[in-house]
Structure formats: C-alpha cells, structure tokens
C-alpha cells in the first residue's frame, strides 16, 4: 500500500500536543469485584500505547471507560484538557468526538452497506455532506484495501475484511484517539496479518494516538511507544516495548510470560 496516497486519517489542524488522556484515581467495580483500583494513568498525544496483562486485569475496562460505554465509580477522566467524566451529557458528546473505537466483534451495522457504515456518522454527527463523506469513505477503504467492496453488506465479507471496514469507520470520524480492543481476537489466524498490517500503516503514517489492548505481542512490540502491564487493576510495569519484552522483565514476573497470555 503506497503511503504517499494515505488520506492522513488522524490529521487535524487543531491537534494538541502533550498529554491527551488522563485518568486520575479511577475506580471501577462490577458488584463486589474491583476491576480498576484508584488507577492513575496518562497518554501523550500521538503515542501508541499497548495495554497487556491477564484476562480480567482491567485493560478492556479502561478502553470502555474512555469510550463512555462504562462509567467509573470514582475518579476523573480527561481527554484533550476537557473532562469526560464526570461531565454533563452535552459535554460528553463533544469530548467523545475525539475518540474512536474498534471492537473485538467488529460491530458493523449489518443493515447498511460498507459505504454507509462509514458515512453514517460523518453525515449525521459531523454534518458532512453525503458527497464529501463518501469521498472520504472511498479514501479510507483504499487505505484498508477494500475499495471493491463498498456496496456489499458486512455479512458478505470475511471477518478480516469486516474489521478493516470497522477501522475505516472509526477513522472517518477523524478521532484524535483510536481505541483498539483485541481487534484480532475474533479472527481466523490467516486473517490476522491483514488487519495488523493496516494498523501498522495507520500507526506509521498518521499522528493519531492509539490505545491498544492486544495479545499479539509482535504487533505490540512493532507499534508501541509504551507498554503498560496490568494485573488486578493496577499497572505493575510500564516502559518501552524493548524493556517490557526483554527476558529480564519476563523473569521478574515468572508466572506470566508475555508471549503466552491466555485469552
């Protein structure tokens, strides 16, 4: 895929630098179970951060809190200097525009064509004209290598193709932050590489901030500026991928080898 024709999905004239996401003292409980325990954590603009850790350690919860699919029980969440929680609904809608998410199960709208999946939100939320939104959708479909499929419905695509459409759909909203929640976990093994290649491309060619929960350690190593290792709702180790994935840090947590975490 030629990088010089990329539509720069993340470019935004008002792009801020410095700290983009901040969670302060965030606690999330499900019943008696505390998933996140007074978590402090921040991400700088343009960085690619990978969250790793065993199942149930709270990685996905962080993404879902940022996407406002969940509300924290305590703490504050700030994105680009504006509070996302606690905040009135109107402000949540504004701040949420800065965030996009790609889900494990794709969650494309099965009643819409690929093209309309991508143009629906830009037209109805951002007020783009149908033509402009479609032009942008075509560019994004080129980016993810699916220009031939724009009139198909999601059910006519493979899982890998659906996930690439979902990536294009998220990018169409020009988010500053892209949340990737185990985006290859539901895919057949042979389809994983295509999706990861698209994401590597986006990580390389845009200044979009990425927050990624994954079990693909090679991918995490490739794209990450920073890796956060979670256990029981706390960050137990953080640093550049070379450090986290080195044999030394592997041996400090002998029961949890980074290459073999269970689903």
């Amino acid at each position: 895929m030629p990088t010089d024709t990329l539509p720069n999905p993340g470019k935004n004239p008002a792009r801020s630098t410095g700290e983009l996401i901040r969670l302060e003292q965030v606690t999330k409980r499900f019943g008696d179970h505390t998933v996140l325990d007074h978590l402090d954590f921040s991400v700088d603009a343009g960085k690619h951060v990978t969250l790793i850790g065993p199942s149930g350690s709270g990685k996905t919860t962080i993404l879902r809190l940022l996407m406002t699919l969940l509300k924290p029980d305590e703490g504050t969440i700030t994105v680009d200097g504006e509070q996302l929680f606690p905040a009135p609904e109107k402000q949540v809608r504004e701040v949420r525009k800065k965030i996009g998410m790609v889900f494990q199960q794709f969650n494309l709208f099965p009643n819409m064509t690929v093209l309309r999946n991508i143009t629906e939100a830009p037209v109805t939320v951002l007020g783009m004209s149908k033509d402009a939104a479609e032009e942008r959708a075509r560019e994004l479909l080129e980016l993810v290598g699916l220009t031939d499929h724009l009139d198909k419905h999601p059910a006519q695509l493979s899982g890998g193709q659906q996930q690439r459409v979902a990536i294009a759909r998220a990018l169409a909203m020009r988010p500053q932050v892209l949340l990737l929640d185990e985006v290859t976990s539901a895919l057949d093994p042979e389809l994983v590489a295509g999706v990861l290649d698209v994401l590597r491309d986006i990580a390389r060619s845009t200044d979009i901030t990425m927050l990624c929960v994954t079990h693909e350690m090679n991918f995490a190593r490739d794209i990450s500026d920073q890796v956060l290792m979670f256990d029981s709702g706390r960050v137990i180790e953080s640093g550049p991928p070379e450090k986290i994935f080195s044999s030394r840090s592997c041996c400090t947590a002998p029961s949890r080898r980074p290459t073999s975490w269970p689903g």
Partner: protein
C-alpha cells in the same frame, strides 16, 4: 345434502360485500396493531415507572381479556360516554388494539435480540439516540420480527368474524344472513371457508415478500 350452484351464484353479491369488509378489517387492523405495538414497545423502554407501570397494566389487561368482551365494551359502553363510532370503525379499532398487545411483545423480543455491540458501536460513533433507533436498532429489530408479525396477521384474519357480534357484516355475517334467509347453509359457508384460506395464503405471501424486501 346436495350442492346447489344457484345458491352459490345467489350468495356471490353478498360475498363480495363481506369480502370487502373482511379485507378492510384485516388491513387496517394489521396497520394499527403494527404501529401501536411498536409505540407500546418503545414506551415500555422509557426509564420511568410513571410510564411503564400504567402502560404495562393496561396492555396486560387488554391482552388477557377476550376480544369479544372488548368489542362489546367499545360498542355499547363508549356511546354512553358520548363517543360514537360506526360499528366497523369500532371493530377495526378493537382488533387493532387487542393485537397491538401481542405485537408489542414481538417488537420487544426483536429489539432485545439486537446485539449490545450495535448500541456500543452507535455510542462510539456518537450517533444521537434518535438516529441510533431509526438507522441501527429498529431496521434490525423489525426485520427479525416480520415472520412473527405475519403469524398474527393470519390469526387476526381468523378473529375478524367476531365483529359480527357488533352488527358488522363481514364474510361470516353475510353467509349467515344469506343462509337464514334461504335455508341453504352448505354453499355460503363453503365459499367463505375457501375465501379465508385464499386470503391467509395471500397474506402470508405478502408478509414473505416484505421479509425478503427487508433482508440484508
């Protein structure tokens, strides 16, 4: 018993009158029950007990009392309150209302069957609530429930003779009238029986066409 073709031809003018009434009740009753049922299903999702409790009680009541009782009630009691409608209009409304309490359950199941991921994707894309319903949730929910709604259309067709009780002359009413005047029961009742089969077959074809049209 012998079959008399002249009774058939004698009945036919009345048959067409009755057919027209039956089809009107079926078509309008279906539309009312489809529309009201959707309204009830959506209102039951309003997060306020002041809405859901009374609505739940009323629809439960309508669903669990006989249609015939409701027909009589609407036909004889409403005029006492100063509300007078034609017998046909009363019958259509009663049937539509009664069946809306079934279709609301069908819609509810259809709405609940839309995966939660669809709501989450709509939130992630910042779609307004209204748009989420009209563009994402309802198209998927309605498509799922068309076969079940089709069953209620057939069931409603078979309940249309009940309006005879409030003086509306639909197929059965016309057949009964003709039979009693001419003492020929076999021919009119057979003709309308065949007509009911044909109507329900056509209605199910129509619903299947609708199902195909909504497929994605």
């Amino acid at each position: 018993m012998k079959w008399d073709w002249s009774a058939v031809s004698g009945f036919m003018p009345h048959f067409w009158d009755g057919l027209l009434v039956t089809l009107q009740i079926l078509a309008l009753g279906s539309l009312i029950s489809f529309a009201l049922g959707l309204v009830w299903a959506l209102l039951m999702r309003v997060p306020s007990r002041w809405v859901t409790w009374p609505l739940g009680a009323v629809t439960e009541f309508v669903r669990n009392t006989p249609l015939l009782v409701q027909l009589f009630f609407l036909f004889y009691v409403l005029p006492e309150w100063g509300l007078t409608f034609s017998a046909l209009a009363t019958g259509v409304f009663a049937i539509g209302l009664h069946y809306s309490t079934y279709t609301m359950q069908v819609y509810r199941a259809g709405i609940e069957a839309v995966p939660v991921g669809q709501w989450e994707a709509a939130t992630a894309l910042n779609l307004p609530l209204r748009r989420t319903w009209t563009a994402v949730i309802l198209p998927q929910a309605v498509r799922r429930v068309v076969p079940a709604l089709g069953n209620y259309v057939i069931s409603m067709l078979k309940d249309t003779p009940m309006v005879m009780a409030i003086t509306v002359l639909e197929l059965l009413g016309q057949a009964r009238l003709y039979s009693q005047e001419h003492f020929q029961f076999t021919e009119p009742l057979t003709v309308i029986g065949v007509a009911f089969i044909l109507i329900s077959y056509l209605a199910s074809l129509l619903m299947r066409a609708l199902e195909r049209r909504l497929a994605h």
